[in-house]
């Protein structure tokens, strides 16, 4: 009995791009989100960056350690294009619009605007941390790795990882301790 599979639209044929995406997509998305306002715009830019990688051969000849820099460089050019063309938008993402209907004080429009502002500031502050701080934060919060696992992966001591992680969190925590204008 012979099995014949019809190819569904759920795969990519290029193992290089599959691996590139697996290795760098999240880091690139985090980088892009620091520079664009909405998740939709960030998705568009990341998509365009990987489409460029699929079309162009240049990246395939670069050493692996230069791949993320190439992707970020392409993303930067996409930012420039993006801000040239974007105009003041009255459009609000759907999830924001629906949540604006809530009357609870914790989820009201004012609180939501404050949280968006804090999130943007949090992304910015994370981006300002040293690279190895950002790596450890990503391993902890995106990949769910504990300090021991991170230490083993990065070949550092467990104590060093704990020190970096606690320092990063204490620094980022200041976003929520500093007084804000207009905050209740």
């Amino acid at each position: 009995m012979e099995h014949r599979e019809s190819q569904t639209a759920s795969t990519l044929d290029d193992p290089f791009i599959v691996r590139l995406y697996q290795k760098h997509a999240l880091s690139l998305m985090t980088y892009v989100r620091r520079h664009v306002r909405t998740r939709e715009d960030a998705e568009d830019i990341v998509l365009e960056v990987f489409l460029a990688a699929m079309k162009q051969q240049e990246i395939r000849f670069l050493p692996e350690e230069k791949h993320l820099a190439w992707l970020q460089r392409v993303a930067y050019h996409k930012f420039v294009d993006h801000y040239r063309h974007v105009s003041a938008r009255s459009m609000v993402p759907l999830e924001e619009a629906s949540e604006q209907l809530l009357t609870d004080d914790d989820h009201g429009p004012e609180q939501r605007a404050l949280r968006n502002e804090e999130d943007a500031l949090l992304r910015e502050r994370v981006g300002q941390l040293p690279e190895h701080y950002q790596t450890i934060l990503q391993l902890r919060f995106a990949n769910g790795m504990r300090c021991t696992e991170i230490a083993s992966h990065l070949q550092k001591s467990d104590g060093a990882i704990r020190m970096v992680l606690s320092r990063a969190l204490n620094a980022l925590r200041e976003i929520y301790t500093q007084p804000k204008e207009g905050r209740r």
Binding site: T11, V18, Y21, A25, F50, R115, M145, L169, T177
Partner: protein, 531 residues
């Protein structure tokens, strides 16, 4: 006042406490809680966005493929063709046409006759050579990837575990949890069932092992539907074609006659006297391996890999002596007597548990390589010994797979006619863990090539060493869903993707004559035309 809320000693616990608070749906007001909550939410959002972009990428590529249909390309050709066509006789002056016409007719007849003679000579030579080399070989007519034979087990049947080609490429041996079968590769005919002892087969039964009774080991080792599970190499066909060595992943090792399936030798590594429970003749020496097994209550030895030496005289057997202690050894066993030729203890350092391993001899027999999984499937190491003195000549650590789920195989493979070794090396972070495939010249201790594929660790070389078939994952989010990608070994470029296997691919082998590849998941075996 000390504002350092997060302390190095407790940072993990503090994060988990704050995350559990946020999962309860409550809005965090404490700054420490909020920073953890918001970091977690932002990374989750980014991961979700990343997954969404992946889907869009696939849809975009699908649109490109539809746009580039062959019919569209063919329609573009006539214009180009007309520019390349030679000047036709219709374009020549009349006198030239007549003369040209007579000369052309004669030339054509002569050329045609000569072409027929040359063709006949070539075909005849080809037939002669083929018959001389492989008297019973049929010419492959299918296109690459075309399935020539498929075997599907019954839903209630025993899962497929491992497979091997005969050296003459005529037969395939298939190991299931129910036993060993051997059949003609492209037809399934002349099926032979090997006679394996019952207690050896018992070791395969899901949920129990005679020595340890530990089902988690077994379930992790056998391919399960939906993916996951480490691959094993407990079936090996001797290079001289006479014997098939089989292990039940317990302490038993059987050698059967490859033609008849009759049991020729049977060794129980856990027995101090070599006597097995089934009143079978004892052929194992009491000095086999049992003398090297630690006296421990943590479970008996288990075989995780088998490999024949190129001269078919010895077997390299990787044995985990005791899963609780985790000591692993590579044992060179004289195949006919069962006596131990060499015992190599593989140690990866203090407090490191060696969990499983496979071994492989270089084509010239000069080296013996082993790929060892350790520390509860998290770490891996490749070892290579010089077989003249069994000194370690190469050792490479293979990276970390956080999360504890061993999703990739433990394979390595020597490139034919060389001392180059290919193996998978893990790297990366937790959910985005990835695997590199590297080719090393062992003699020169030089990495020759790094292949850009997400490999699940199963390899098969074409007999001439030009191509490498690799089990790869096509979805970077999970390791379910596998292809077999055939790479050009020199350039690293993929030349073919085989997508017909639906489950987790348990085994893969390229026929020694280069014509076919056989692959299996737990329920289906396919023999298909190699590219």
């Amino acid at each position: 006042m000390n504002d350092e809320i997060f302390t190095p000693e407790r940072v993990d616990e503090q994060i988990e406490q704050n995350l559990s608070f946020s999962r309860s749906g409550q809005f965090a007001r404490d700054p420490g809680e909020r920073v953890v909550q918001r970091l977690h939410a932002l990374y989750e959002e980014d991961m979700l966005a990343t997954a969404h972009v992946w889907e869009r990428l696939i849809r975009q590529e699908s649109r490109w493929n539809i746009a580039a249909q062959p019919t569209e390309i063919m329609q573009a050709l006539p214009r180009e063709r007309s520019l390349l066509e030679p000047l036709s006789p219709a374009n020549l002056p009349r006198r030239q046409k007549k003369y040209t016409s007579r000369v052309s007719a004669f030339s054509r007849r002569v050329s045609l006759f000569a072409a027929v003679l040359v063709l006949a000579f070539l075909v005849g030579s080809l037939i002669f050579v083929l018959q001389a080399a492989h008297p019973s070989t049929s010419v492959v007519t299918g296109k690459p990837g075309q399935t020539v034979y498929s075997l599907t087990r019954d839903p209630e049947g025993q899962p497929f575990v491992d497979l091997a080609w005969s050296p003459d490429s005529q037969r395939v041996a298939l190991l299931t949890t129910g036993g060993l079968q051997i059949w003609d590769a492209t037809t399934g005919a002349n099926k032979v069932t090997a006679h394996l002892p019952a207690d050896m087969l018992d070791a395969f039964i899901m949920g129990s092992l005679p020595a340890t009774g530990d089902s988690s080991y077994l379930s992790a080792r056998l391919p399960a539907s939906g993916g996951g599970g480490a691959n094993i190499r407990v079936l090996a066909w001797s290079p001289d074609g006479k014997w098939i060595a089989v292990s039940g992943m317990g302490p038993e090792l059987a050698i059967v006659n490859a033609q008849t399936g009759a049991l020729a030798h049977y060794f129980n590594l856990a027995s101090s006297t070599g006597v097995v429970t089934e009143n079978l003749p004892t052929t194992g020496s009491s000095t086999l391996l049992s003398a090297h097994m630690p006296a421990s209550g943590g479970g008996g030895p288990t075989i995780s890999g088998l490999a024949w030496s190129p001269n078919s005289q010895q077997l390299a057997v990787t044995v985990v002596a005791d899963r609780l202690n985790g000591s692993l050894s590579l044992n060179i066993v004289n195949a006919q007597s069962g006596t131990l030729a060499h015992h190599l203890t593989i140690s990866s350092g203090a407090d490191v548990l060696n969990w499983a391993g496979v071994a492989s001899w270089s084509p010239d027999g000069k080296y013996l390589a082993a790929h060892v999984i350790r520390e509860s499937q998290v770490l891996s190491t490749v070892w290579v010994w010089d077989t003249s003195n069994y000194q370690v000549v190469f050792k490479q650590d293979g990276g970390v797979q956080a999360g504890g789920t061993f999703e990739y195989g433990d394979q390595l493979a020597w490139q034919p006619h060389t001392n180059n070794l290919v193996f998978a090396v893990g790297e990366g972070t937790g959910k985005l863990f990835t695997i590199k495939v590297e080719l090393w010249d062992i003699a020169k201790h030089t990495m020759l090539q790094q292949y850009p594929v997400i490999s699940l660790g199963q390899f098969a070389w074409s007999p001439n060493g030009t191509y490498l078939a690799v089990v790869t994952a096509y979805n970077p989010s999970v390791y379910h869903g596998q292809w077999i990608t055939v790479l050009n070994a020199t350039s690293g470029h993929p030349v073919y993707n085989y997508k017909q296997q639906t489950g987790h691919i348990a085994a893969l082998a390229w026929s020694p004559d280069g014509k076919y590849i056989v692959s299996c998941d737990e329920s289906t075996v396919k023999v298909w035309v190699a590219p």
